[in-house]
């Protein structure tokens, strides 16, 4: 697969990804084209989530790099970002012109409620996967309180809590998560 092919593939995945691209990437790469096995996908996805930045972009880079080196990785992420960014910009401009009408505001308001539900359910699903230890709970609660309730700046909180968490984290084989 050439870099151009990767660009086309990932931009088409992005442009049909209404509401989110990930399920389409799985469908295409694992189920349809069989470029990755389910196990490979899961591993790449976990790595993409751990690395900073938008998960789907990291995933594109990882897959693209695997197939075509640096050029492949860059082509894939460019496809994932640029066409949809232009699309979203076009939508925002359209909204400027036609969005002011009461009907559009009403529709968007209703959609926003559901969009919030999407975030909430994602947070709950993540919380289900959390290790059930006191330390994990305390750190999660501290993070929540600092950001949502105290509204402290993220940079400081992340460095502080993050540094503390890594220091306290024992090696996996020693036990204690």
């Amino acid at each position: 697969m050439t870099p151009w092919g990767l660009f086309v593939l990932f931009s088409s995945l992005a442009m049909i990804g209404f509401g989110g691209v990930l399920p389409w990437v799985h469908r295409s790469l694992v189920e349809r084209r069989r470029l990755l096995t389910p196990a490979e996908f899961a591993e790449i996805f976990a790595f993409a989530q751990l690395l900073p930045g938008p998960t789907i972009c990291n995933l594109a880079i990882l897959v693209g790099y695997r197939r075509c080196g640096l050029a492949g990785g860059l082509a894939a992420v460019t496809g994932m970002v640029v066409p949809p960014a232009l699309g979203v910009l076009g939508l925002a401009v359209l909204y400027d012109h036609y969005g002011g009408t009461p009907l559009v505001s009403d529709v968007l308001r209703g959609m926003s409620v559901v969009a919030m539900a999407l975030i909430c359910s994602m947070a709950i699903k993540m919380a289900r996967a959390m290790p059930r230890t006191l330390r994990a709970g305390v750190f999660a609660a501290a993070m929540f309180a600092a950001i949502a309730l105290l509204k402290w700046p993220l940079v400081a909180v992340m460095l502080g809590l993050g540094g503390l968490a890594v220091l306290l984290q024992k090696k996996p084989d020693v036990g204690g998560a």
Binding site: G87, M111, V155
Partner: protein, 178 residues
Amino acid sequence: MDSPWSIAGQILLHFALLSLMAIGGGVVALSPEMMRFMTETHQWVSHQVFVEAFTLAQVAPGPNFLFATILGYRAAGVIGAAAATVALVGPPSLLTVLALRYGNRLIGRSLGTRIRLAVLPLSIGMMAATSWSLTLMAVQTVTQIGLFAAAVAILLWTRLNPLWLIAVGGVLGALKVV
């Protein structure tokens, strides 16, 4: 009043810094901080515009973090949009490529696993904070709360495509039910 170039520059710097902190939950988890920066530290957009941008990006095809593109546009036009997008994608992409090339040599499995385990509760806390802050803004009336609760339940316990729910939300909004 700052010029668009100045605003775009500040967005570029701040979002680039934030991008490196989007661990585990993606960029969406950075929303409370982005909101704070865009609506309070600088009054470049209102809270309502923030929620609108978020929803538009959810509905549009493509990655959801592109709500930042809209925010950048609202704050500083096309260069603001470009700045916000490049800032969120650029540094992490560079880091990912570096990790691919040199990661195994520098960090090794053990430290990598330690970091991953340590950060997991924090990213969950961040996600919870994001949900909290955004929901408070968009879900206020009794019917909105009802729709919100029903949608969360459906999302957690069925495999229904979320786009159907978004469509229902739009219809209910048009009917002035929510």
